[in-house]
């Protein structure tokens, strides 16, 4: 029972970061209708920025996390402006190619500048806590709480404010959005900023727990795609729920069946859910 709860807890923690990364990916997908393959690399870059702010400039943990979110927000806006916007209206394959080009560029730049060896952010909250019969670190608890708060804030922003709703409006009907006077370029820019800042936050929160390497984003972005397909493309609830499902499947499968195969469970869950519901959990029937 204790092991089970421990794995559930770890699954929720993993799921929290997956949900944040998948949310960012699904928002951008809704706006561009093209998958941003470089999303995992923005996540990786966010972890590195936090690492260097802490180790080189003696930033406190939270100051570093917030600065990293701001910096990656700006990077996201630049990516939108200079990589994707010029390709709007061209065949989709052009954006695919650009996304992969950007992915390779980011991964290799980081490897060249900072080396390929794994780095670890010193634990800001190493104390252990006992909770409902399980033992964990404060850091793991913080990951969950911070992620939940940010996910709720983002939902409130999108559902309750007029600026947030412009993101949904552009995703649902780009021309309709232009016709009510929304500046679609500005909304794309804002969406990329939020998406990248969320990736940076997730990466920074996890950085004291796992190692950071230039390739850390590669598998993650695959999983994020699994999540948004599983949740239904373009659906925010789907991305959140899908993130937690994947975290739990991985953690329980890894803990009780085989740790070496934990990624198999993740992709297996995708195959299974799509076999039962081809449009994903919250997917709209195609029209």
């Amino acid at each position: 029972m204790e092991l089970f709860l421990q794995q559930v807890f770890n699954g929720i923690m993993l799921g929290s970061t997956y949900a944040m990364v998948a949310l960012g990916l699904t928002l951008v997908f809704g706006i561009l209708h093209v998958p941003n393959f470089a999303h995992g690399n923005l996540y990786m870059l966010g972890a590195y920025v936090t690492f260097f702010l802490i180790s080189l400039y003696q930033f406190g943990f939270w100051a570093a996390v917030i600065s990293s979110m701001v910096i990656l927000g700006v990077v996201g806006m630049l990516v939108e402006r200079f990589v994707y916007r010029p390709l709007i209206g061209q065949p989709h394959i052009n954006m695919f190619i650009s996304a992969i080009g950007l992915l390779i560029l980011l991964e290799n730049s980081v490897a060249v500048v900072w080396g390929t060896s794994a780095k670890r952010i010193p634990h800001p909250y190493p104390d252990t806590v006992h909770l409902l019969g399980i033992t964990t670190t404060q850091q793991r608890l913080i990951v969950i709480v911070a992620a939940v708060i940010m996910i709720i804030l983002l939902q409130l922003f999108i559902k309750k404010t007029i600026h947030g709703t412009t993101i949904e409006a552009v995703a649902q009907d780009r021309e309709g959005a232009q016709l009510v006077g929304i500046n679609v370029n500005w909304v794309s820019s804002m969406t990329f900023a939020i998406s990248s800042a969320f990736a940076a936050a997730a990466a920074s929160l996890m950085a004291p727990i796992f190692m950071i390497t230039p390739t850390m984003g590669a598998l993650l972005v695959m999983k994020a795609f699994v999540i948004i397909i599983l949740g239904g493309l373009g659906s925010m609830q789907g991305a959140i729920l899908g993130g937690y499902i994947l975290g739990l499947v991985e953690s329980l499968g890894g803990g009780f069946i085989s740790a070496a195969y934990k990624d198999v469970f993740a992709f297996g869950a995708l195959v299974l859910i799509l076999a039962i519901k081809p449009t994903g959990l919250f997917g709209k029937e195609s029209n």
Partner: protein, 235 residues
């Protein structure tokens, strides 16, 4: 209020609008008649800034708008209720209206007043307030599209074939409402294949064929014109 001089618009290599000139004055209610593929939608999208003309100028309230982006043109006071409606299908009726008022989002009192006005015009929108726009019937969606276009409080409203695909009774209802909107002071440019309906409610009309204006005049003269009767009234 709106002045087009020798406007041409292309799609790739094909010229769709060929040198259109026209003028609409404040308070006017003008129709644009033309059959399938005449170029009505393309002309309206050009005026609204979704498409850019390759030749000629568009002037709205004395300002040249043919290079402006669509969102800036809306801010000047021109609103297009487009063909195909382009509603936000997964947002509620109420949120669609709120987004229609995006350019004056800080004017809370004005927005409330406008919501009251469009709900009075189309009472069904009040009943369906919380329903997703995508689940409305075709006629209801058309009413919502017109209402959303009104929410920016435009001086000039372009309506692209509001009668398309609707039952005669609903067409009659919408025609009455559009006329009422004009009588309340909004200038309207209405594109229609249903020339019979359009000519009954408008004061003046243009006839578009293969991207050119081939005729213009007061609606009551167009309705008796032989060419118009043959081509558009099935006489």
């Amino acid at each position: 209020m709106l002045k087009l001089r020798n406007v041409a618009t292309n799609f790739g290599n094909s010229v769709i609008i060929r040198g259109v000139s026209l003028e609409i004055k404040k308070g006017d209610f003008v129709s644009l008649l033309g059959s399938n593929g005449a170029g009505k939608t393309t002309l309206f999208r050009t005026i609204a800034g979704i498409l850019k003309p390759c030749q000629g100028t568009v002037e709205f309230k004395g300002r040249q708008t043919n290079r402006m982006s669509a969102d800036k043109i809306v801010k000047l006071g021109l609103s297009l209720c487009p063909e195909g409606r382009h509603l936000f299908p997964q947002l509620s009726v109420h949120k669609n209206l709120m987004m229609g008022a995006y350019i004056r989002r800080r004017d809370h009192k004005g927005i409330k007043r406008s919501i009251g006005q469009v709900q009075e015009l189309f009472p069904i929108l009040k009943e369906r307030k919380e329903q997703m726009a995508g689940t409305l019937s075709g006629g209801e969606q058309q009413m919502l599209a017109i209402a959303r276009a009104l929410m920016s409080d435009p001086e000039l409203l372009l309506l692209d074939e509001p009668s398309i695909g609707l039952a005669p009774l609903i067409v009659k209802n919408i025609a009455d409402k559009v006329k009422a909107i004009n009588e309340m002071g909004t200038t309207i440019f209405l594109s229609e294949q249903n020339a019979n309906m359009a000519l009954k409610i408008t004061g003046r009309g243009y006839v578009l064929e293969s991207g050119s204006i081939i005729m213009e005049g007061p609606s009551n003269q167009l309705i008796t014109d032989d060419v118009v009767r043959k081509a558009y009234l099935g006489a």
